[in-house]
Amino acid sequence: MAPEVNSRSRRAFIRNAGGVSFLIATGTWFTTKSEVLRNRNESTSIGSWVTVAPDGQITILNPAAEMGQGSMTALAIIIAEEMDANWKDVRIENSPIEPDTYGLQWGGQLGGPMITVGSRTVRGYYHALRLAGAQIRKCFVQAAAIKWNTDASEIETRESIAFHTSSEKQLTYGEIASFMEVPESLPSVSENDLKKVEDFSMIGSVVHRYDIPGKVNGTAQYAIDIRVPGMQYAMISRSPVYGARPELDNEDEVRTMDGISHIVTLSHGIGVVGESFEKCLAAKRALKITWSQGNKADGYDSRVAFDEYMQLADGSQMGESITELGDVHKAFSEASKEYHTVFRNDFVYHAQMEPLNAVVSVASDGKSAEAWYGSQAPDRARDAIATELGIAFEDVTVHNCFLGGGFGRRSMSDYVVEATQISEKIKAPVKLVWTREDDVQYGAFRPISLQSMSASVNQKGELTGWKYRIVGTGDGLLASGARVPYYSIPNKMVDLHSIDHGVRTKHWRSVGHGPNKYAIEAFIDQIARDQKTDPFKFRKRLLATSPRELKVLEKVAEMCNWTSAVPEGRGRGMAFAERSGALVAGVAEISVDKETGKIKVHQFWCAMDAGLVVQPDNAIAQLEGGIILGLSSALHESITFSGGVVQQSNFHNYSIARISDTPENIDIHIIPSQENPAGVGEASTPVVGAAIANAFLDLTGKPLTHMPFTPDRVKMILG
């Protein structure tokens, strides 16, 4: 039964056959956003967020992409905590892709974009969902108060039950939902109505993730698992050099191959459509395509690009200013010693385990479409389909599935647009699957970059000047993590040169923080050691006016017993970083096989202050995973271009961390805090490269200045 909502009222929840549904409308937000809600209610979708059924089941919608970071559970916990729900009653479903209702808090209000990027989800919904949970609880209390003809102040709630304190009376939320009168709007709540942190029973405790059982028994649905009636498979042979346009030389031959129904020419490739994956793969391999010349990336060689970067790094031309503080020139002219090191970082590929794919069904009249995908920006993907077809956003129905990894790649919508184009042309539903080779070779990578670092030190051994030039490709992607406001260096100058090579770059978990924190923290160790100062002591001095950061650093030193002797044949290195508001310090303990040049990380200690952490065990899992990913990018991962073409194609020549790379011990400590939640998902990755490089410096006395530290590079450095 379709619920009815009087659009002229400001009803914030609705009764229907299934119980009551709560539109989330918090405090002042409701009055300012009510127009939007009203408009939504008049259309087909209702912005309900929480529904309580008469049988007591509580359905909480999840507005964020679930790609392994666990936020679908965290967000529901936040609501359930404040509404005093019994977690056993809670069921979580994905919300519709309606950003006006379900978008992130953006400028203080919900209704921003529905993007799951930059470790934003928990911090981006935390306050709004707490207030919403408190409002819903208040509704149940008020309804019970009316029922018992008593004052709301005499009613307590716990685990989905309302109790009358002075009598034996109690009602479950389900029972209340079956008779609850619908008020005109949700009761107002303020910060004072929220629980005190010490009264939390779920936030900050270990609650098992809602999505895990399905991911263990094989029932979790990813987009690649979707099958719709009449669906065909599709695959695309894409430009080997980005921007090249295809001309197909053997269309008739491929079109008549067994099981192939269509050949579709796209601007950047040739699509083949057929009855199965195998048929499409055979057809794709048979395609003979001539690619257009004159592309920007023609002839691009990523190894040679570093020479060009070096010229810019050494040149006098200033780039875009990132930081300017004090008088760097004066600091260097008065220095007792200067330091200079150049660091390099290769392109890195996302390598999410589920290759890109999407199922799209465009109606035969082209006036509507339905799509299934796993996207970090499902609203943008929905919009991209609408734009592609020239139809309204509302005419596109979308389903965001579990993401088999995102890491930034799935915030692009290219794969969704491709499936739309093919479905529109063949007038049937398609499942477009990228092979691993497609996913690697048409990737959008963490950019190549060069960090030219200079520092001046005074006679007391204090850092007085900090000059840091980044040269690379990818504009803003290069700048993230370049600032070090927490280090008290009186004179700083950071600038950026970005060159467009015509190849694609993209956010990759922790973005520029990976390359930049590596360069910054490795450089600091070089200076500290040359100054014969312990790197921990050296950083402590730099963090003298940043107490919160200092505490994190001191914690990790305590965890690894920093002052203790390092076992024979091993080195220990430390690094500090902030990312998305989280402060992280890490220490790696490594050994090096001098014969093979292979670095082995034996232990990793990590301390984090990310404010209040909603799901501590999940946060630890994120930090563990982020350490492994950081280790993978630091030791293995390198994409290279030659002649404008990506040289790697699959996991045999793009190596990522395997289980044997796992440190024997990963020790993580989350510093207790009641500060606002910060982002956890990317927090540990940035410290890993430098922690390893610094451990290598400790062990061998030699710096590692080019990431990844592959066996070949290590052997060369060791001579």
Binding site: M67, G68, P213, E278, A282, M353, G405, H652
Partner: protein
């Protein structure tokens, strides 16, 4: 251009006798997913490099993304959906207790691979585990918990934890 020879192949799938329509291009991974709706077995690399497609063929862990469907004729295939024996159940339980999966995409393959290990060796060392699991990639980096979950799934560890 040319027609392929179509045929039917019979094998045991999760304990039941089944018949699949195939030709000489058919790959087991896609037969399982498309003809039997067993989507727990995942496509990721297509060249036996990552293990997301791991199934059991007569009890041995095998990559299904490169295995011709014709090769399983008369044999017994088990997928994550059918992994219900004692070892499988212990592993699935441990995977939940240790909260192993993140994105989860590789986890059916991880569990299938781990199950083959414990069926052969119920008391593996850390080195045994690493050697046996090396072929199954996890991009989320859940390896640390995968090792813990396998260690807690051995008969001794499992029953030990029960009697506490």
């Amino acid at each position: 251009m040319y027609a392929l020879e179509k045929s039917t192949v019979s094998f045991k799938l999760n304990g039941k006798e089944v018949h699949a329509k195939i030709d000489n291009q058919s790959i087991l991974l896609w037969t399982l997913r498309d003809q039997f709706a067993l989507t727990g077995t995942k496509f990721s690399c297509g060249m036996s490099q990552c293990g997301a497609c791991t199934i059991h063929l007569d009890g041995k862990a095998i990559r299904s993304c490169t295995l011709p469907t014709s090769a399983v004729k008369g044999k017994s295939v088990t997928t994550i959906e059918g992994l219900n024996h004692e070892v499988g159940t212990r592993l699935k339980e441990a995977w939940i207790n240790e909260q192993v999966p993140q994105c989860g995409y590789c986890q059916p393959g991880q569990i299938m691979q781990a199950s083959a290990l414990l069926q052969e060796n119920d008391n593996p060392s850390r080195e045994d585990i690493i050697e046996h699991m090396e072929g199954v990639l996890c991009r989320c980096g859940a390896y640390y918990r995968i090792i813990k979950a396998i260690q807690s799934s051995t008969k001794t560890a499992y029953h030990g934890s029960r009697s506490e």
